[in-house]
Symmetry: D2
Subunit: 293 residues, 4 copies
């Protein structure tokens, strides 16, 4: 039997209104509808893609509630938590749980480098405050903290509701190690788009990705080909979408996904400053890539 | 004539009350008094050392106002700004200016990697909103963004009130390049404690440091020896304080400085979670180092 | 139709005699026989595993001739060239061609960092002196030079007999890029043992590996499973041999492979100083791993 | 009293004859004469600058003997040893000792990464074979091996004739650590040109540099200013020569120094392939730099 979270876990952007830059919950609801109609297996609001780092607490709460309502139990929903202090991470996680989230995904973000002890304490404090599962999220490029596979497995043993891992270093060896160290008992998810073929080949349970905002068919086709053991088809689907994956990773997810949505006629606004909207050259390149797939 | 900011620029920690972890403005005032009495040349509240990343907006404003009152124009004061969004960075910078700060120090912090264009826009937006000088602050280890000397000089030319640079990469070549590229016209400040001897030898205008919280005499002695051209004395002062500099950099500034203050009988509380207070072994090591100098 | 070089390309160690450390050609012949009997698809003497960097020119020539005789056209043979000067690289490559090698594998090794122009000139000078194909070999960890996919494809276009690429950075994205940039026309081979599953899943034509010295069955099983599209079996074969792959990469190939051969009753001597033979603890660990597969 | 090796230790290039690329001992003798006449404190043939990695054993021996004759006891001479095998490193070191060298400088170069145990054994084997002092040389950028300050001090304690350290990582903290760990008893020498001011300020006993091939006056002036405690003059001399130091480090020492010698009318030939001679653009830039100092 498949675990609750598997397959293509889609990360909606957080749309902002054109006139004042405020959160546009109506467009968010539409976007989530589109993703579910396109067949994704789960929804993950307030990830890196969702610019959660740039939202006030009030905005964050509103996006959480609106996302859960929009999903309306059609697929599982996992809410991203990446707060600098343990105190506010707990507050947000409890809010998400009470609002009806199936799980939370926790990224330890830090200004100061954290010791292993501090990271473990961060997870155990959050874990003790919740009764829903936690997906541990490792993404040193955005968070500034790198959790080794050894530490991740240690946390999963110490904190009973840490039951899933999203790995975004882009190093397939990390996934091999997680699988070895946990004897295959700790499901891992791919968080590095261009690693999707390697990760799914190595046994990743799912792929956490913003790609479905622009194209859900190709990620789904790749996942399905791997699931049915059709490696030749998987390879073909992967190389077809690879230029898009490379482009959105290089240009930054909020910037490129919002630009792509606009090219496709869906208005999600622009990212918040200091992020700038994608320039003309980037838009041309993205249009060419979208035309090609 | 020496520039307004020169010499030893001291970074007070932000004391938190024992019972509820709230900001303790009375202790902050005492700490700033002590630093000025010890002879430091300037005060820099709300730097990395001041845990500004872990403060709410209300707390941040309160610390700014209290610091400016405590300094009371005895020495210049420069307030640290390191906010994720340009909007809130401007809000804080304007608040500091109106409260009476002599300058602000701006660190571009980002969840998403920023392009050079985005970084320049961040500084020019803040610069346009202010009439006091800005010290550009480069510290990739905490901020996740590295500004090359070329980019820094470009920003200082594009934004007229960016008139000083704090360099914290720990690479002396960056300071050489800043000096070359600006023909010596852009004053640079050392922000990497263990680089103090090299940076001052190379012509740094000042040293931004949290060390004076625990010992102001040795940094001042090093600066004075360099100013009077006594290299042998400078070397001696530097190697004497080097174990302390290495310890506070390795253990994290809020953690180690607060522990050291407690060892010296000054209660500044403990850092905020996820940061943990210094453990017993660390305290013993720090006590040994403090006894040795 | 499969290319001449495909599948499992085995790298024999260079055995040294116990009493004086001289090259033991009789044992080398036996080892090559064993590898071919075990079913590997090609033989690659004088690779990194073969300690070619530690051989004199006379020894190198002797090993080349003996290897070609030992293979005796049963499978294709590719001879490794990793010389510091272009002049001696050409001498060795011509020697290998005249002795009957099917191809050479060229790794640009350098004391001084080489410019792209210098690397291209190195390959074109060697290419012009030969009429057999060249496999370009990228392995920055041992050679100190990293060739980007862009440069590799540029070289393959400029030098007509550079027709294959062995990639050993361990980064699967390099293989993706090679495939994209050459429109699939430049066959790539995996040179990083622990990347074997990812590389073959992504379409690598072969796997260059020293593993068959100790166990040929598991690499062959992995390759065959991928060839027949049985991803589940491939994953199982890969994770079974992964501890061995991790061990030999971490401990260094000549050191660990020679120790493993001895544990299996085959005397290939010990590596040359400064390399030391595997210690007791390492031998115990290796024995446990070999017992487990 | 100053140690035997101190001040400016000059690294002559190895001149090659125009017509056949063979070693030109007559020009080497002239170059060494020029360096000594210009006032350098010691001569170091067969360093990285001397392309020792590209010489045959016969050439290496000839350059050693010729250099020692040319120096003729006017200043101390230290011969560079950077061989892949311990056996040949010993052979070369003994050759140098018998030919009259005052010391050897040993860089552990490796194809395979060496363990600490292997590095220590390499030095102790060489040390046991010699009765002259050894300068340990750490230069990971060319050798592929990085020796931590802790390991270096450990080696100096285990091998009695390892009495000096040349540090070329470019990280001033390494020198601080060497000084701390040895309580100032292990003299360290700067091997990273652009670090000269910082290293000498921190107490380096000398500066190992190829710069005097093109200009001996400025390095000597910098050293003398530091020796007499005139930091302002030292800074001025350093920044004056910094563009030259940056240029030769970026372009590679044999390539740029040989080009510069030619621009100054001294024929030392060109470096050996795969190295290429400096191109036209580089020559123009170098001429401009030389004109400016």
């Amino acid at each position: 039997m498949k675990p609750l979270f598997h397959g293509i876990i889609a990360y909606p952007v957080t749309p902002f209104a054109e006139h004042d830059g405020s959160v546009d919950l109506a467009q968010l609801t539409k976007l989530i509808d589109k993703l579910i109609n396109d067949g994704v297996h789960a929804i993950a609001p307030l990830g890196s893609t969702g610019e959660s780092a740039y939202l006030s607490d009030e905005e964050w709460d509103a996006v959480t509630s609106a996302s859960i309502s929009a999903v309306d139990k059609r697929v599982p929903i996992i809410v991203g938590i990446s707060d600098l202090t343990t105190k506010n991470a707990i507050r947000r996680a409890k809010y998400a749980e009470q609002a009806g989230a199936d799980a939370v995904m926790v990224l330890p973000v830090s200004y100061w480098k954290l010791s292993e002890e501090e990271i473990i304490r961060h997870y155990s404090s959050i874990g003790a405050a919740l009764s829903i599962p936690i997906m541990l999220y490792n993404n040193p490029a955005t968070s500034g903290i790198d959790l080794s596979p050894e530490l991740i497995v240690r946390i999963s043993k110490a904190v009973s509701n840490v039951t899933m891992v999203k790995e975004s270093t882009g190093d397939i060896q990390r996934m091999h190690r997680l699988n070895q160290l946990s004897n295959g008992s700790l499901p891992f998810y791919n968080g590095s788009n261009t690693l999707a073929l390697a990760a799914l080949s190595a046994g990743a349970t799912g792929w956490c990705t913003a790609t479905p905002n622009l194209n859900a068919a190709l990620p789904l086709a790749l996942y399905n080909a791997i699931s049915t053991g059709d490696l030749a088809a998987a390879r073909q689907h992967f190389f077809k979408q690879l230029p898009l994956l490379q482009f959105i990773m290089k240009g930054g997810l909020p910037t490129t996904i919002k630009a792509g949505l606009r090219l496709q006629g869906f208005d999600a606004g622009i990212p918040r400053a200091p992020l700038l909207p994608l320039g003309e050259k980037g838009n041309d390149e993205l249009q060419t890539i979208l035309n090609g797939i």
